[in-house]
Each structure stands twice: as structure tokens, then as C-alpha cells.
């Protein structure tokens, strides 16, 4: 990985300093596990980046893909909230240093700090791209990075996403989250199917097609399978589907009572879940390789909705043992249970992939999404209506969230930043979309 040299890129460094403003720029996670950059919030100063149309180096671009590659990559960079995309122009021709110099000089004059030169070659079975990233604040327009990606033509959007993620990597040290999928529930009462789409809502495709009620999808850490609850056999059972393979769904748990709320351990080897087979909802951990279950909670109240810390050492969950559903944390063996919240009614906890924050849904008449530090400090509200806002899911970088909102009428999926800013629709249409699960970065 080649990172931007900050000392050699003074203006860039200034821009970066503004990107990571006074919002606790560097801190230790509550459990002392992860050091991370806590980049939150909109409204910070952004790096201006020029993204002209990609240049066609070879082959015939019958679909106008070169132009769309720039558009999609630009949208991804905009979504990251780290960049402001400078209005595009026609393609800068390949192998033409004079044209490149003139284009970057013009963009720099217009305020661009960086330039992304995309090159595309169209073959029958592949689209090959090269991205070249330039520092426009230096007189010689120093090249920061180059990288090649290729994909089958039908998956050209992934090329744009990969390029955008690489640009984010070059400027922040961590890849972007554009080359990811979301799984969600599509449909109304009585028939609900699991659908997956790109993170920006493009290209929805079925994950289930069984005519039953399918609920609460959750991506596995390898982004190859989706666990979900289905009434396929009449009862709420747990399955997992393999949406990229010709492989049927696998039954994970089909016990009497509820089989729900799957949560993959970070290593992907076990799944915590809620089973009520022993009388009332309790949390169990299934070891996938052996099919053995281990019971973690023993309480007359409801214990449900487990979510793992990114270290795999702790599990947060919802229990109504106090009489009202609240957020609790225990170690991965089920010991050391301690409450994290004690006021309000809480469900749907989701532990940040960075470890420091847990988001959840609070009901107070309507539902809104809140966040709390993993040590129980600083509960804060992320959404304030309109309508109900619930079902949060984290982006793999812990900076973005998606959730379902009824603010426009029927349920649709929205995204926002970790501080609740920049709430933006992801899905649209007459069919309701609920229960989003944001995948890890695709392999």
C-alpha cells in the first residue's frame, strides 16, 4: 500500500487536517483493543478532486461506460464525505503529457487539490482500467498512485467502486466502502424476500425467491453468505444463503420456537443467535463446522439480538430482565453480564466494526437510532424523525450507517454518517425496503 506522503504534500496535509477536525481525532477504543481514526460528521472541509471522464485506451466503448465510470467513482467519493468532486470535463487523452498538464493546470486553478485520471480498455470479456492519482498542489502535478483493476463488462460498476475505494485508501490509509453490497428485505406483509444490491442501491437481485416471509438478513464476515430468518417451513427458522454461488440455502437452526437474530462472530466460525427452544428467548452460539450449540444466557427474561465486538471477546445483546428492554454486554462465554443502558426502550444493537461505539434503536413513541460508547458513556441521538428510523447497520469502516426510515411514507433504506449527518435515501420505489445489512468489503 502506498500512502500519501504528507510531508511532501503540504496542501494535502492541510486538507487532511481539516478532514479530521476536533472530533476526537485519535483515540483508544473503550475495551483497549483498536486504535483508529474517528472520522465523523459532515460539514468538515473536503479535499477537492477532479474526476474527468475515463479515457478509452483500447477497444470500443459501446455502452458509454468510460463516462459512467467517472460518474460512479465521483458519486462514491462524494458519498464518502471526504471529497468534493470538481465538475468533470471530457476525457483527458491517454499518452499525452501536454494535454494532461493543461487539464490539471486548469483543474488546479479551479481549486482542485487532486486529480483522478482513469484509463479504460474494452475487451470482449473484460474491462480493464487503470487509475492514476495526481497531487495538483505541486507544480509538477506529482503522481501519488497508480493501480489497475479489471472486471467482466457486466460488473463495470465494481471497477468504479474499486477505484474510488483506492482513492480513499491513498488519502486516509483505509479503503473506502463503495465495493460492498447491501442485503435487505423487500416486500409487504405476507410475502417478503431478501434482496441484495450494490451499496448505492444499484442492481437489486434476489437472494431468496421462495414466496415465504424472509426476514433480517445478515452478511457473513467473508461476504459470501447471508444468514436470515424464514417462515419457509411455517416456523421462524434460521438459514443461510450463498448469493454468489449455485448452492442452496442451508438450515442453521430449526428448533421449536424462535430461531432468529443471527450475528456472525468476526472470524466467521460461529454464529450467535436467539433460540427460544428451552422455554424463552436465550442467546446461543452455533459453531458452524460442528453444528454444536452453546447456550450463553440463562434468564427468565428475554435475551436476544446478540452483536459481537470486533475482537470477538464480547457480545452486546438486548434483555428485558429489568422489565424493559435494555442493552447489555457480556463476554463471549456468557459471563460478566453488565447493563449498558438503563433508561428508554432499546432494541437492535449493532457493534461498530471499529469497536468503540454501539448503535441501537430507541423507542419513545416512534423509533430513532442512537449511539453509545462501548463503555456505556455518551448516549446520543443520531436520528430525530420524521417517521420511524430503525434497523441500523454499519459500513465496514465504521464511518457510515444505513437504516430503514418511514419518513417518506413506506419504509425505505437511508444512509448517514456516524454522527447522524447527511441522511440520504438509498432505495426508492413503491415496494418497501427494510432491515438493511451492509456487507464487508467484497473479496
Amino acid at each position: 500500500m502506498r500512502r500519501l506522503s504528507l510531508t511532501a504534500f503540504l496542501a494535502g496535509a492541510l486538507a487532511l487536517a481539516l478532514l479530521f477536525p476536533l472530533t476526537t481525532p485519535l483515540r483508544l477504543a473503550a475495551q483497549g483493543v483498536d486504535v483508529f481514526l474517528n472520522v465523523t460528521g459532515g460539514g468538515t472541509r473536503k479535499l477537492n478532486i477532479a474526476v474527468p471522464e475515463f479515457a478509452v485506451v483500447n477497444g470500443t466503448d459501446t455502452g458509454g461506460v468510460a463516462k459512467q465510470l467517472a460518474t460512479v467513482a465521483g458519486d462514491d467519493l462524494t458519498f464518502s464525505q471526504l471529497f468534493s468532486v470538481v465538475a468533470g470535463t471530457g476525457a483527458i487523452p491517454p499518452n499525452n503529457p501536454e494535454a494532461l498538464k493543461k487539464a490539471w493546470t486548469d483543474f488546479a486553478a479551479a481549486g482542485a487539490h487532486a486529480g483522478l485520471h482513469g484509463l479504460a480498455t474494452f475487451r470482449a470479456d473484460r474491462v480493464e482500467t487503470e487509475m492514476r492519482l495526481y497531487d495538483l498542489t505541486t507544480p509538477e502535478h506529482r503522481q501519488i498512485a497508480t493501480k489497475r483493476f479489471d472486471m467482466p463488462p457486466a460488473q463495470w460498476r465494481r471497477l468504479a467502486h474499486k477505484i474510488a475505494d483506492e482513492v480513499v485508501l491513498q488519502f486516509t490509509g483505509e479503503p473506502g466502502v463503495a465495493d460492498t453490497k447491501i442485503a435487505y428485505v423487500s416486500g409487504r406483509t405476507g410475502q417478503k424476500e431478501i434482496v441484495m444490491a450494490d451499496y448505492d442501491g444499484n442492481g437489486p437481485a434476489p437472494v431468496t425467491r421462495n414466496g415465504s416471509i424472509n426476514l433480517m438478513p445478515v452478511w457473513s464476515p467473508d461476504a459470501r453468505s447471508v444468514a436470515y430468518t424464514s417462515f419457509l417451513q411455517g416456523y421462524p427458522d434460521l438459514y443461510r444463503a450463498f448469493p454468489f454461488e449455485r448452492r442452496p440455502a442451508q438450515t442453521l437452526a430449526a428448533y421449536s420456537g424462535i430461531n432468529s437474530s443471527p450475528a456472525w462472530s468476526p472470524d466467521g466460525k460461529t454464529i450467535a443467535m436467539t433460540l427460544s427452544k428451552d422455554g424463552n428467548p436465550e442467546i446461543y452460539v452455533l459453531t458452524i463446522a460442528t453444528g454444536t450449540f452453546r447456550r450463553l444466557t440463562r434468564h427468565a427474561g428475554i435475551d436476544t439480538e446478540p452483536t459481537w465486538s470486533p475482537t470477538g471477546r464480547e457480545i452486546a445483546f438486548i434483555s428485558d430482565r429489568s422489565g424493559v428492554p435494555h442493552l447489555y454486554v457480556m463476554d463471549a462465554e456468557g459471563a460478566g453480564v453488565r447493563p449498558l443502558t438503563s433508561a428508554g426502550r432499546h432494541t437492535q444493537p449493532r457493534w461498530s466494526p471499529k469497536g468503540d461505539v454501539i448503535v441501537y434503536t430507541q423507542r419513545a413513541g416512534t423509533h430513532d437510532i442512537w449511539a453509545i460508547n462501548a463503555d456505556g458513556s455518551n448516549p446520543r441521538r443520531l436520528t430525530s424523525g420524521p417517521g420511524d428510523n430503525q434497523g441500523p447497520t454499519w459500513a465496514p469502516n465504521g464511518r457510515h450507517l444505513m437504516f430503514q426510515s418511514s419518513r417518506l411514507g413506506g419504509w425505505q433504506i437511508f444512509s448517514m454518517l456516524l454522527d447522524g449527518s447527511v441522511q440520504t435515501p438509498v432505495t426508492r420505489g413503491s415496494v418497501e425496503s427494510t432491515s438493511p445489512s451492509w456487507s464487508p468489503r467484497l473479496p
Binding site: T189, N210, Q250, T251, P281, T434
Partner: protein, 181 residues
Amino acid sequence: MITCQASVVIVSLLMALAVGGCATQQSATNDPSATAGYHSGAMGSRHDGPGGTSGMGASARPRLSDFIVHDDLRDVHFAFDSYEIRATDMRILEKSTQWLRAHPDALVVIEGHADERGTNEYNLTLGERRAKASMNYFVSHGVAASRITVMSYGEERGMCRDKTESCWAKNRRAHFRVKAN
């Protein structure tokens, strides 16, 4: 694409084989060994056994399509976010109990339902509690627990779809279906 149906047919066959015919209906809620649980393997071709329980002697859950609504077992309804049986609904359950005692071979499935407010996960547990509250009434009035299966649909099978309190009230219910043996 995923072919869940095919897989589940295979899994169902495996379950039937594993339990040797499933002749006996058991209490679905109180017997931890009452079902097969976990099935692993590509194409559903391998049966790893039901995880933490013994596969032997386990019974499949009753087939829901065998159960029908009966006029003498009417729905009971619940207050918002509550699973307490209300006094008026006690009389409904009393009548249902009489029917069940008069038909000692009949089995009953109790479905718990929630209105659409609340999160999916929470409503699944709330629906189960409503079904169990109804079951507890039956059991405390002399109906064998082994005749009763409780299940929850959460908010997924609302009979009324308007976003009004009267509609939500209709959806907060326990629903009964019977199979006369």
C-alpha cells in the same frame, strides 16, 4: 440463484428420516429435544445431526397445514406492548378450554402476533409471549401442555393493514388453530 425450496425439501426429507416418522406430537415449547436443529453441508446432502440435542427420539414440529381455525377458539387481543390476558379475553379462553377438554385428542397451535410498531426482532419475542400467555391459561386449566404448540409471527401476518390504532389493536392477538385427531 438460490434455490431454497429444493434445499428445504431435502432438509425436510432428512428430518423425516432422522426422526423415523414423527408419529408423536410433543409439546413444542417445553421439550428441548423436540426438533431437529442444524443441517450442514453443500446441497443439503449431509446431515450433521441436530447440534446440541440428540437426534434420536426427536419429533418434528407439527405440520401447520394440518391445523384449521375453529369457531369455538376465538382470538384474544392484547394492549400495546403487553402480553397480559385481559379479563374480557379470559372468557374467550375459558370457552376455548372447554372445547379442548371436550376434545382430548385435539392438538392446538397458538400463533402470537404483534402490530407493526416496534422492531421485527422485538415483535417476534412479543408474539411468542402472547402465545405463551394463552398457553399458560390452558395448561393452568387442565389442558396438557403436550397438546399445545406455540409460535410467533411477530408483526409479519397482520390481518389489518391500515396505520390506525383500531387496526393495530386487531393485529395484537393470539390466534388458535386445531387439529382434531
